[in-house]
Symmetry: D4
Subunit: 243 residues, 8 copies
């Protein structure tokens, strides 16, 4: 297997998406904009694409310039970024293919939700989203949730900060597996995502699992894995030739 | 003002309900059954009634026996108890009088909710309750909540353990002031009421205030005060003779 | 109902004050000054006014400029700001109308107390304030508290940082419902508002409920709701024509 | 839908497994042995079976006696118990049906792992287990893990206390979704499951989600949901007649 | 210096009060009643007296029996106990001698306050007490506090649980040094003495220092040291013969 | 009594040192350099001096300039500053006057220790210091401690960060009252002063009380109060004319 | 390698001491006395000895009876127990062999210190101990520490509860590696070993490492490993024949 | 012994490496670049070398310039720096000399691992390193670990952030003493090194001790002490002439 050494910066693993089903993601915080951009361009050339999470404005500027210089396509997903190398192809959604839904409680939770979408779409998953559907205005939740269920999503990612109650409400309404993502939205006691995390761990609704605060990447990857395996089951059963 | 000294045990304040609007409540944990029973009978004789909170089976046995011996009526409100001295009268609910609603998320939260009811009813407040209406089964919430609002309750007490999401949902639906009570129902991370408390403090819904874990007494007292004042306003306006 | 979409920034709810009794408040931290100013001007045009909380110097500059450009009146309430659109009218205090009192323990607590005042006044509530009346100089508390009680306030908001003892002392003196607001004033162990929050949750005084650290907005909204309902009771009883 | 009221004890939901895919589980701690036994027998008669979690020796004795009296089969799964009513049928594992694997790090983690197995098997899932395969003796892990992967499990539940490192190691080796369960095994700093929970939330391995401490029930339910949906996909694809 | 070895149990230091000014105290929790009683009798014989802290009912029974058997006087100070050997003399309070005041907020705080009194009196300090003078009823505080100040106490010990606000109020009224003792009275968030401890550490009032939760012994010892030194200064200055 | 209102900034209390024995101290963090300087000059003109705590480089520059402009003397005490107005007199140390010793464990603890010295000296206390005498090099402690005891200090302030062990060691060696000050020196688990604070609260040595993290001001004030009262006792006894 | 299955109870590893240098220890808490005794006798028969940690009185009784029945020698090391099978031989201390010193601060820390001794001696290490040498009486430390250093111990184990300052003091005096063991002795804030653990992690003295609270077993094992390797180096160098 | 006073900055101890076996290290955070550089050059001139830990870019620039000006060699070890004075000699690794291995789980942990190497090499220890060998890719661990064991390292330092599982895995494979270093790599719940620290304290593997978060210096020093003593044993045994 290939290991791409980038000086002392990192040892990238461009084949991880093929081998493990989940792409490697470059975590921007604590890295300089220049280093981040260098890693992303090396990765996109080796793997066809590169994912970067939690970029700030300085990272964004450096990444955009590097992508332009390299002729790569540059896409924004909340605080995530994707570089697609010139000529590289992306997985196309297909009927019966893997599918997930992503819900976000508030507008401040969208950055994290979009990182989940970025990872899942890069895994070839069709993603349906509904944002700003928090529990303090439940009437906004019903319609998009019904649409997702009708589309037979394989899993749901539910993102919420503050009191983090949305996954409990959704978990009480659906039978699909729910992956709950607490976000660091909130202040004072229970702020920084603590109340949301604890509330999700305590949830009375069945079928809910949790990832760490702001870990949209991890939630998207887990939901993607579930969906990809379900879609593979559908495909294999429909065309049961031996592999 | 009277102070009733009960040996070294306590200095009871039988006139508190008249002076402050809120009765004194005997907190049972850490007290022996015998001491608890003695305090309750002394109090009921001085004030006409006595309230006891968080009794266990041993307290209950001692209290029931003491009430029987004293000829007092003995009532159970979840983990709360009320002794009404022989011949003492209780405030009667009246049309236009103070009114609150109490909601509890799960059956384990009922003990605390009932203590809130005990205090409020002792203050002369009409109390409507709806229990087992948690967020994992929202359809059970709509009807009782609508009934309470139609009855024009002056305030709502909302009791919930685990993730404590019910006050947020209710707060998004009503304009009455909501007093949220976290309960110590739950386990593991965020257990003992911590997740519920933090979630309620973080709630996105407007008009919610919070009391400490399992403090149904305090919630009932605050809701009662709000209701009593609103009812007084109604009465005074209807009959604006000078006081 | 109207929803005002402001690009990707937010979905504003200008009718919330009419429907729910509490106006929507724009939370400034984490938003750029430009975005904050844009949201505030859109909101003030749709609803007649806009409230912004926890602004810093950069937000303030952008908001003042935007208000001037829009011809809106610009008012400061501690760290809160209100824009009143040209020609919009504000609720006027009236005899018998809703009324609350706000107490703050120290000069550092005034920013939070003023946000409570901002919300309540925008709801049409008459607000009386007394600041710098902390427990280490109790003699300063007696007179303003007596004045508030004479004015028959419907509820009290009590704001305190450090050890947060003021609500306990006030709660021992009055029978009005008390909403306690811990502030993030303090340092070392128990700093950032933790000691104040925990002390308020533990308070021995009856009739106290609590909001999260620095949540003057929430306290003002809850106190406002209590007062508005009490005033409505007074008005309805005085003029009991059917609605 | 049926709701089975059992006095004041609970409102049971015997149809939940059909409607939501996950059976309701009776949580024993805090309930008396007699109440627990009564709930379990009522439930088993209404639904054909009853699941009880975290029973102690007293619960066990009462449950066994009640099962015997009712003619129900009584099975032990670690600290979980299942009553199967006389004549009730259980789902049978089938080739191509839902399948999960459960790993436990130490012998003290088996109680929790077995509760996960109890729930999943009750949902009709084939469960393969490997216990006592913790990271301090990695050579014991390789063989059972390979066997599970060869059997194409749809998801893995990995249970660990103390430092909780097993899910990270497993997550680095497989591409199936992993649900990590921290247990309350451990002492001193990080004891009671805290170190294990935090370690699992921090895991560097992709595709891991987490449930609360000792929540084998929740992990088994989520893994079961994933597996049931994957198996349904296989079945539907193999026999694509319209539903 | 003498060291009294009591088997494997302990190495007692009977001369500590002479050498260091503070007597050694036997901490009962975790010790069997028999061991506690044995230590206390050995100590009382070697030093003339023995102090024991935080005894429960079983310790008390064993200690009382041992004292009777040894012909020692047996005294109760809240949860503390003192044995005075037959014929041993105790320091007598004298005009101008060391003097402290001890205040306790609630009746539940008296056990800890009395342990402070036990230590101080054993050091020859005159102790004035006022109990049940908490901040929710400030009018009860004024008179006893004025009496203490008139008696020119050298230091004040102020004991409080729950929100622990009493030391702040007292510290705002007096110029004597105040030693604040949080007690483990309280429940829920901030319970077990945490809110009280943090509030005391955050106190805005000058001249307050703090000891650990329930450490009445330590507070009495420190206040005693301050008083003994002040009295020594008074004595030396009044009779300035060289030592 | 005078209250000096400084715009909206503060209400200063210049007579506090006379009335309460402890001067008011301006806490710089969170205040702008300009505001801090304005408060300090107003205070120094009203009271003859002004104390400022925890100044940073910007505060220092503004304070120095303001002092120069006002003709006041400007002194540095670690992170504390004192302005002495032109012509104002300071208390002079005198034989038999109040005296304390201040010990600091490491060079990083000196800033806090010096603030304690600033307050005490402003109260007229003679202060002896010994810095960099931590427990990892005990031989450096013996000599200065012996000197302090020979000088008959009335109290000791012991300042330490990291593990905060110095007060325990000192408390085991002396019979003077010890006030322990944890500092925010330290990192990782227990950093920010937590380990030091908890260790001091747990100290096995008798006669130790504690203030909050970095609260040198409070420790200096309490030690000063003890010393001032002891010195007053000496003076009064030596010259027992009635006051 | 042998694995000894004891029913469902455990899978014992009798060869661990030979293979890894550290014997397996049976952790008694949470196990019934009967199970503990059964495990210990099976282990002692397979390995020649068995070690049990943290036994209570009930465990002790069962273990003693089982040892007697099996003809094994039964030894007590604080809260640890060792069974030596009839005829089994123990490693004998030898000149130049591995050697460690164990220090304990208070008499309450001895139980944990003795468990460290039990493990190390079972590894063939000569152990010198000095107990009750805490920092509040430093003069008792000097002599035994000097003796240990003269005996050229290979490592020191230092056990302390409360503020846990002893390892810092020792670490400042010696150049041998120090393994610090916090114990759960202590109460209130920082109780249960937290203050001691954090203080040891923060220690300013070089060459200190830490184990978890009450983990005397782990400390003894690590110190034993260091000593055994040093002794092996001595032996190999003295007799450098190839292995 | 020499103490080098550097103004008010510090009192350096250049002979510590000779006396205690461990060099003094200058801790850069909180010090200005200029002060740090001054301390380092004074130290390197007095002791022949100077070690600085946790430098940032500004410190680095000042240190490099100061080293150049002083003619000293300037070396980088992760976030550590070493100045070697012109003409000073360093210990040379030798066969049979002290030897340790250092493992780091991720690339973000290398800075801390290199500080451990810096200290150990300065003590004359031969250091073998293997970085980026975390548990999510166990196959990368086997080879370097085997090489270290073949080289007979005297101790292992294992550095890991996030879930911190590497020391447990390594501890299960080797019999050398393992010193575990948690790093502050990680985010959300358990971030900042907390999960890693707790996991290491809970480790099931024998022979592991722990230092504080990011304390590579302490780990390197302790491992170095162990190795130096073992090497001394080897040398003394091989050449047993009396010292």
């Amino acid at each position: 297997e290939r290991v791409v050494e980038v000086g002392d910066l990192a040892r990238l693993d461009p084949d991880r998406v093929r081998r493990k089903g989940v792409p490697e993601v470059i975590y921007a915080p604590g890295k300089s904009p220049a280093d981040t951009a260098r890693l992303a361009t090396v990765m996109s050339e080796a793997a066809g694409f590169a994912l970067v999470s939690r970029v700030d404005a300085d990272h964004d500027e450096a990444l955009a310039a590097a992508a332009a210089a390299a002729g790569a396509e540059y896409e924004r997903f909340g605080s995530g970024r994707r570089l697609v190398a010139r000529g590289a192809s992306r997985p196309q959604p297909a009927p019966g293919g893997p599918a997930i839904g992503i819900l976000a409680a508030g507008t401040s939770d969208v950055d994290v939700a979009e990182e989940a979408r970025m990872v899942a779409e890069t895994m070839g998953v069709t993603v349906t989203t509904a944002y700003d559907v928090g529990v303090s205005a439940l009437h906004r939740l019903a319609e998009p949730l019904a649409a997702m269920l009708k589309d037979a999503v394989d899993a749901l990612v539910v993102v919420a900060g503050m009191e983090g109650a949305l996954p409990s409400v959704v978990g009480g309404l659906v039978s699909a597996p729910v992956i709950a993502v607490p976000t660091s939205v909130g202040y004072g006691a229970g702020g920084g995502g603590l109340a949301a995390l604890l509330g999700m761990l305590q949830s009375c609704s069945p079928g809910i699992t949790v990832v760490n605060i702001d870990n949209g990447i991890g939630a998207g990857a887990s939901a993607g894995l579930i969906a990809v395996r379900a879609a593979a089951a559908r495909a294999r059963a429909a065309d049961p030739r031996p592999v």
